[in-house]
Symmetry: C2
Subunit: 295 residues, 2 copies
């Protein structure tokens, strides 16, 4: 337990460093507010600079470094992965989807800029993210990433999430939703970083399994925090899953069993890393962070 706390601290430091670095990377990659269409560029920057853990960029760089990646192309990918994440949040928050007014303690994009602008700002971030990915020159990474984002990945999870609201669901259905809505992009972040570093197929399949496991753990912890944390700590409405009758781990198996599930996934993710010869310290630390985080 002491070791887990130390590792979480290591991850915290790593995420802080990457976050700081990403601020200037985003600023370089995002169009300036002074250029036409100004209002849209403003909305894109508003959502991208609203804070957040920058977990996905950190997973891209951690996997890239671990497999001995060289060169600057990783920053295009790190930036792109956060843009895909932000695009999904902007659209999910829309009145016609989750109808959320706050995100990271600030009004959501559509509350701040209007719905039409929010739809187009999300679209623009998704497109810009693909443009940045294209600058890596790695078409295969783009293909795999797109697969993780589309109807067999993140978007598939989002639509099933809203279609399941208020319904009685099985734990298998919750797994489907959580894997697709959250774990797919976390898994993709690691795969993209590893691919850009030139990792071989065996390593890629191990890193994919690790991503899938911690991605699911991340969402189970999210479900738990929605119940036990406060709106202030989360920066978004606590208790909103219950209010919206969302399909979550606690709603199907209860809070205590959900905590055990998160711990089991954590242990599984570490066992997966044990099979790799590379230095996996940062990934172990990030897994510990994911399981111990409070917001």
């Amino acid at each position: 337990m002491q070791k887990t706390k130390e590792q979480a601290e290591t991850a915290h430091q790593y995420l802080e460093d990457i976050s700081k670095k990403m601020e200037s990377v985003f600023d370089r990659h995002l169009p300036p507010e002074t250029e036409i269409p100004q209002n849209l560029h403003k909305a894109m920057r508003y959502s991208m600079f609203a804070g957040g853990k920058r977990l996905r960029p950190a997973l891209v760089t951690a996997a890239f470094d671990m497999f001995g990646g060289k060169g600057d192309s990783v920053w295009y990918a790190a930036s792109a992965l956060e843009m895909f994440h932000t695009f999904s949040l902007i659209h999910d928050d829309l009145p016609c989807i989750d109808n959320d007014d706050f995100r990271r303690g600030k009004p959501t994009a559509h509350k701040q800029f209007g719905e039409g602008t929010a739809v187009l700002a999300g679209d623009a971030l998704c497109i810009l993210a693909f443009e940045l990915m294209a600058k890596t020159g790695n078409a295969k990474a783009i293909e795999i990433l797109a697969r993780h984002l589309g109807t067999y990945g993140m978007i598939g999870g989002e639509i099933t999430d809203i279609e399941s609201e208020g319904k009685t669901v099985t734990i298998e259905m919750v797994d489907y939703i959580h894997y697709h809505k959250t774990a797919a992009l976390i898994e993709a972040s690691l795969i993209v970083g590893a691919r850009l570093a030139g990792a071989n197929e065996t390593d890629l399949s191990v890193i994919q399994k690790f991503g899938r496991t911690i991605g699911l753990a991340f969402q189970v912890v999210d479900d738990i925090l929605d119940i036990i944390s406060t709106t202030e700590a989360l920066g978004k409405d606590a208790g909103s899953d219950i209010e919206k009758k969302k399909a979550t781990y606690p709603s199907v198996i209860g809070l205590e069993a959900s905590r055990e599930k998160a711990q089991a996934l954590y242990r599984e993710s570490i066992q997966v890393l044990d099979t790799l010869p590379q230095n996996t310290d940062i990934l172990r630390a990030i897994a510990a962070f994911i399981i111990t985080r409070v917001n």
Copy 2:
């Protein structure tokens, strides 16, 4: 004039052939309705199979063939370009943007499936289109295409279009909107086809200029048809530009001057083609079709 009519007939035949071919290509590239998430896959197919001229796929294949392209990768690109177009139509039709109930004579996606599903179906088509583009293996083509789609291209035109509604605008602003909202994707279709065929930089810059010119002509003709045609012929609400106080060519320079502008753009596009040594018959025919079309 007789020659223009004959050419328009040639283009009509070419578009019909491509349309027929694309039906089976789309069917192969789109996820089946029987797979989860079924409702989303249904919405994507509904919008993709709602008809339309399939102009963008035809421009991809025409440019590809003209520059001696070989292989099947062109069909990924042809499919992708129509998906990007459909994605933009689905989002533009949303109540928070243009609020249109009909498209190609059928209820728009959000009228048929609800707003949340329409937003995500648009997102999914955009993502799938990038996945298909990635399968061509040409990262540079993806980068240039994304640039034409984002805030410096199509999305930039869309946001400026809605922000200009009801305002007094200059002809320069109408040019900005029309170029970005419509011509950018038409230009991109030709560039992608030419790039996949291995066209050189000089040829690419000529084909880009042709695309820009016929793209603008296409939108000027669209403006004119919105005034002189019927809802039945168009498959969408005629007269809606005036109702929404859209920034259009006729609203700024009048109907007759708009007709002259369209003809001038047509002549310019043909002059651009005259500088190419390749067989440009199909592109000339498509230009004639664009200028003489009635819906």
